[in-house]
């Protein structure tokens, strides 16, 4: 769950857009394997949006955990067999998607523990010397379990790097030619990875 409302909306819009893009790509002329990958991405985007909001952050926790664990297994299969992975990239990208789906399963599973200590008391901060400078501040974060923090921070680093790599690829692809679906696909992967990093950072 993301406590800052503005950030929550940003994450919602980003994952709604990337989810819509994956759904659109799924409807194009593609193989069954590629379509499966797209569907898994769409479900992941929906889950990320749900996870960002307090009311739905722990919705269907166990089914989601199992689903994303199975999705990770699917991408293991893709990576091992070298099956068509379409615009998602090659075998290396498939391994990345294994990590992504496994991270999703982990996030959904530990979310209640991670969020347990978040609600803290609010207060005000006086800014000396000038009127209109008394500001309300939200409650401070409570303590998150150390194991959750450690795993989350490692995953933040992984997804931040992955997001930058995908974004860089999207930029370079958009520069040299205009295959919208391909460069948009890299861009969507980048946005999803950075969105994951952001969500994990709020859990850490």
């Amino acid at each position: 769950m993301i406590t800052a409302e503005g950030l929550r909306w940003i994450v919602t819009v980003l994952f709604a857009l990337t989810g819509a893009f994956c759904a659109y790509r799924c409807l194009q002329d593609r193989t069954a394997g590629e379509r499966t990958g797209d569907v898994l991405h769409v479900v992941m985007c929906v889950a990320m949006v749900a996870m960002a909001w307090p009311a739905t952050m722990s919705f269907a926790r166990w089914p989601q955990t199992v689903f994303f664990a199975l999705a990770a297994v699917w991408f293991v299969g893709v990576a091992v067999t070298g099956a068509s992975h379409g615009d998602h990239g090659g075998r290396r990208a498939a391994f990345y998607h294994v990590v992504m789906m496994a991270a999703m399963a982990w996030m959904v599973f530990v979310m209640p523990r991670a969020m347990a200590g978040l609600a803290g008391p609010g207060g005000t901060m006086e800014m000396p010397g000038h009127a209109g400078m008394s500001m309300s501040v939200s409650g401070a974060a409570g303590s998150t379990p150390a194991d959750v923090t450690t795993v989350a921070l490692v995953l933040v680093a992984v997804f931040a790097v992955a997001g930058l790599v995908f974004l860089a690829r999207a930029i370079d692809e958009a520069r040299v030619s205009r295959p919208p679906l391909r460069s948009l696909g890299s861009g969507a992967n980048g946005v999803m990875a950075l969105g994951m990093a952001l969500m994990l950072l709020t859990m850490a």
């Binding site: 010397g129 009127a131 500001m135």
Partner: protein
Amino acid sequence: MSIDQNAEKLTPERESPAEPRLGWAGIRPLLLRLHFYAGVFIGPFLLVAAITGLAYVWAPQVEQAVYDHELHVPAAATTVPLDQQAAAAKALVPDGTLTGVRPGLTPTDTTQVIFNRPGLEPSFHWTVFVDPHTGDVRGQLETYGSGQAMPVRAWIDVLHRSLHLGDFGRLYSELAASWLWVVVLAGLALWFGRVRRKRAAAGRRAKLLTWHGRTGLVLAIGLLFLSATGLTWSEYAGNSISELRTQLDWTTPSVSATVPASSGRDIGLDGAREATVRAGLTGPVEVRPPAGPGKGYVVAQTGRSWPTRADSMAVDPATGTVTDTLRFADYNLAAKLSKWGIDAHMGFLFGIWNQIVLTLLAVALIAVIGWGYRMWWLRRPTRGEARAGRPPARATWRKIPGRALAPALVVVAVVGYYLPLFGLSLLGFLIVDGLLEARRRKAAA
């Protein structure tokens, strides 16, 4: 701080090589475009901020003259107790709640008795000025902020901050502060890039560019300081900064006014002040009465010049014991920097020299903005229908490799989140720019 004269040579149609190399040639067009559009966009806001800021810098001297009767009295040997002065003031403000008393620092200063009163705007107070030697009331005025600004200074302050347009008006100063550092940093990079290439100035526009760049170089540190401190006051970015300070435990501490249950005895304003004087709290102070049962007097230093004197003490109203002391020296670094930054931005920290430096900054900024617009004007075509100088070309991002642009985009997104007006205005610009480019391509096809 330069808009290079060759900007017009960059055309949107020119595609960069498939593998652009990271270097000055790739980055410069983007910086040029950023500096140009951001400068043109916030120039008017910065002009208003500079002019109103200039007026504010010298407002303390103006208010000393305009409100001489309220602020000053003939010196005398005798002094009326603070409680008696407060009672005289209270008689004139029956609907007011006493929030503080500021004894005069010298024998020629009046005592300021400060009230909260129904109907006052937030941060405004009602202040009664009392002759400390006779107890006579010299006048009463609406004052503003913790600096006790008199009406003239308060009016200029609100003008500088919000143009008297309420929260909507605060957007102008936040936009200016949010973009100023971007314009300055891009301008610095362009200037150093130009110097590195040892480009000689020739022609009227080139000379203006030299003036624009050199003056901007000298101003840079001051402008970055004004931008940073201005942002702490802003509505949205200010909230972000406050949140960040809270999360990092960098908030400004406050003295604890909680005291043991009292017996009903009250030492009064004079007793509280004397207790703190004995404890070493001297200089200009504000004595605040207990906020309620179980609370004590708070006596806080109100000095704003260097060395900063912002200690405060809580005093038990029953016993006169100092129950808590908060020294400015014990503030965390962020709180100290915040206090110093605010006082320097307002021209109080280093007295007259602070005011002179701010004045020079404001005047030079006005000149730099004027030269910037003038250069744009000189670049306008003298034939055809175009009435303004051609802006730097689009698609400058194509000259920068993805491995450099991607992290930069992420940094911009993070900054845009914490400085929302910067982020939203940039996003709006990119959308409009993209639409215009799409329309141009469609028309060209």
